[in-house]
């Protein structure tokens, strides 16, 4: 199968949607003339014109607010928030409007928007341009929260988001944009709420989110050379969360480590850990351990940021700590 980068896979899904569905349009900062901060939408303005690839002023509230209005009128907007750190500015639109309107109108109104955003941890972008904040949103009923980790998942999940009738928060990872992987040319979609076992194993389950899937696979490779068999599970969507696949894996291995770029306190890992305890307590042979970001603002210094970030070695350490006395 041909290989695409994560960025190319997203770009392909967006472009196909623009070609196929006249109701689809993109809206965001610098997505048109500049081609997108990460060049995902480069050339789209020329190809599809300013009606469908709309540059906006620097106002996230306006971007999502306009998208919601267009969706209510029957369009399929794909809004882009350049950095996840800017989402607090449109929190009202996202959490109080987009997520609630369908419920509050008794199902008469729908807000099928997609809000694409990305997090840039590991690029020395500083405390306000590096944050990974999915836990803020998977707690909001009415929003779907999607976290692709591979080019294949990126295209399949975006295609699924295009079919959804509810608001979807689609969170990309800028460190993954250059990661390559097989992507079918044909259209396919990956259902939400279906975790993917990225690698099968027997001794310990690692539930890894987004970028950490790759760190987990690298850690698994190293540990496997030392005789420890690691299963790596990628939930792919955290709202809805496929706890069944995780629990089945824990029933097999008895041990689980959760790997996430999230802050440890109140992060996705905390929720997954609690769900495992509720569903598989008697199968646990070791405490559930989390490898996450510390509870401090992300340092600007590249050296400090590297220390701050969860990675393969921290994951190996955590796994070893639940095995060795």
């Amino acid at each position: 199968m041909r290989e695409l980068t994560y960025a190319e896979a997203i770009r392909e899904a967006l472009r196909n949607a623009l070609i196929k569905n006249p109701k689809v349009f993109l809206i965001g900062e610098d997505i048109g003339a500049y081609g997108g901060a990460f060049k995902i939408t480069n050339g789209f303005l020329e190809e599809f014109g300013p009606e469908r690839v709309r540059d906006t002023p620097i106002s996230e509230a306006a971007i999502v607010g306009a998208a919601i209005g267009a969706a209510l009128m029957g369009l399929k907007p794909i809004a882009e928030i350049m950095y996840m750190d800017f989402i607090p500015i449109c929190l009202e639109q996202l959490a109080n409007q987009a997520a609630k309107i369908r419920f509050m109108s008794g199902g008469k109104l729908k807000v099928p928007i997609i809000v694409r955003t990305q997090y840039s941890l590991g690029r020395a972008h500083g405390a306000q341009h590096s944050q990974f904040l999915p836990a803020w949103f998977f707690q909001v009923p009415g929003l779907k929260v999607v976290l692709p980790s591979t080019p294949y998942d990126a295209k399949g999940l975006l295609n699924q988001a295009l079919k959804e009738e509810n608001p979807v928060l689609y969170i990309e990872c800028s460190l993954l944009y250059r990661v390559k992987g097989p992507v079918p040319e044909e259209e396919y979609s990956i259902p939400f709420g279906k975790a993917d076992i990225k690698k099968e194993g027997e001794d310990v389950t690692v539930v890894a989110i987004s970028r950490m899937v790759h760190e987990a696979l690298a850690a698994a490779k190293t540990l496997e050379e030392n005789g420890l068999s690691v299963e790596v599970i990628d939930p792919r969507t955290i709202q809805p969360l496929d706890i069944e696949t995780i629990v089945n894996s824990v029933k097999k291995t008895g041990r689980v480590v959760i790997a996430e770029d999230d802050h440890k306190t109140g992060g996705i890992g905390a929720e997954i850990a609690a769900s495992i305890i509720e569903n598989a307590f008697d199968y646990l042979d070791a405490p559930i351990t989390r490898v996450a970001s510390p509870d401090i603002p992300i340092p600007f210094s590249p050296q400090l940021e590297l220390e701050y970030m969860p990675n393969k070695n921290k994951l190996i350490q955590a796994i070893n700590s639940i095995f060795k006395g």
Partner: protein
């Protein structure tokens, strides 16, 4: 109001386990209708409703192990109140259950409330230890911080199952014998084990052996075969033994503390090997039945045994046991007394052998009979006489009918 009790299926049975209730509280039941399924020591049985009425109250749920003769449910009329004494009985039971819970709880929680030396164990390790009945406090944890893990419990289980074998008791320095597979005892295996060890420890088992010339019997069997269906050799041996027991009733008895109790009926239990294990269905009043009747009954019981369909009635009440390994090419063997009985007769295979009759060596079909009896009950010479009586009937089978 009728009480339903756990019936005693077998003299040795102490408890029964309720497998399943077939009726629920408030349901109408008819006399004779199956109410529940109970597992006795050797087989699973249905307990029938003793009367028509409504199943008013179930006292023990499925899974409960209940002493025999204890009430487990009540049947009554729709508006019939539960009598006061039964209410008290139920309350007594509930109280004792609560008490049992209180007594048991700290035992389970012990590892958790100990402040000085808390036992650290993973949930999986605790669950496994509980399932295998292993005291988690005796296990040494090798996990982080001395935590007991699944592996530690599995090692302890492995060790525990080694204990009774020579492997564990071996002279130090010798490697333990590796175990290929550990098989938990089934209920029937457990019963067999308990009863036979009891027999070995309690009875003063003594063995005498004799050889029987079967020439006449085989001829006689051919004669009656032509007129009727085939008759098994075992049927002859059952009948001969039953007749001999009439004349030697001391072997049809049980020793109970300081008394020997002679049974009124002569009921011959017959050892039958099935996939599940050994069962011993009973031919009641064998001394009063014809050989043909006995032979047919043996066929029927054997079929039922293979299909696991023997009833309580067919499995209980034996007063003397016969075990025949002739079909398995065994010359002679020494069986073990089936408690609480006093004797057992082992039958080998029919074999042509040179025997001396009137100073002439002749080849005759013979069979070896082994009588094992409890010497506490009776001495050697009477045992010899009893065995000779059986031999006499087999060598002169016309006297049997």
């Amino acid at each position: 109001m009728h009480k339903i009790i756990i019936p005693r299926f077998d003299p040795a049975m102490k408890t029964g386990r309720i497998i399943k209730w077939l009726k629920s509280e408030g349901e109408t039941v008819n006399k004779g209708e199956p109410l529940l399924i109970v597992e006795g020591e050797k087989t699973v049985f249905e307990v029938e409703a003793p009367a028509n009425g409504i199943l008013k109250k179930i006292l023990y749920q499925a899974g409960s192990e209940v002493e025999v003769l204890k009430p487990i449910a009540l049947i009554g009329e729709a508006n019939e109140p539960i009598p006061q004494e039964l209410i008290e009985e139920i309350e007594e039971k509930v109280k004792s259950e609560i008490k049992a819970e209180i007594i048991e709880k700290p035992k389970i929680e012990k590892p958790f409330i100990k402040t000085v030396e808390r036992v650290k164990a993973s949930p999986l390790a605790k669950k496994l230890a509980e399932e295998y009945g292993i005291n988690i406090e005796e296990i040494k944890g090798t996990g982080p911080g001395g935590r007991i893990t699944k592996e530690d419990v599995l090692n302890a289980i492995k060790k525990a199952s080694l204990k009774p074998t020579f492997a564990e008791a071996s002279i130090s320095g010798l490697k333990p014998i590796p175990i290929a597979k550990t098989i938990p005892l089934s209920r029937i295996r457990k019963t067999i084990a308990e009863r036979l060890v009891y027999s070995l420890h309690k009875a003063a088992s003594t063995t005498i052996i004799t050889s029987v010339n079967l020439e006449n019997l085989l001829k006689y069997r051919e004669e009656i075969k032509s007129s009727l269906s085939e008759v098994s050799l075992t049927a002859f041996i059952v009948k001969a033994t039953a007749k001999a027991l009439e004349a030697h009733p001391i072997f049809n008895s049980t020793l109970n503390e300081e008394e020997i109790k002679i049974f009124e009926d002569i009921n011959i239990a017959l050892a039958i090997h099935t996939e599940d294990g050994l069962v011993t269905p009973v031919i009641k009043n064998a001394n009063k039945k014809s050989i043909i009747e006995i032979s047919n009954e043996i066929k029927e019981l054997t079929n039922k045994a293979f299909q696991r369909k023997l009833s309580i009635d067919e499995l209980t009440g034996g007063t003397f046991t016969i075990t025949n390994l002739g079909a398995y090419d065994v010359e002679l063997f020494i069986p073990i007394i089936n408690p609480p009985q006093t004797g057992i007769l082992g039958v080998g295979k029919i074999e042509k052998k040179p025997i001396v009759i009137n100073d002439q060596i002749l080849i005759k079909p013979t069979v070896a009979l082994t009588l094992v009896f409890d010497h506490r009950v009776v001495d050697g010479v009477p045992a010899v006489k009893f065995l000779q009586e059986i031999k006499h009937f087999l060598e002169d089978p016309k006297e049997l009918n």
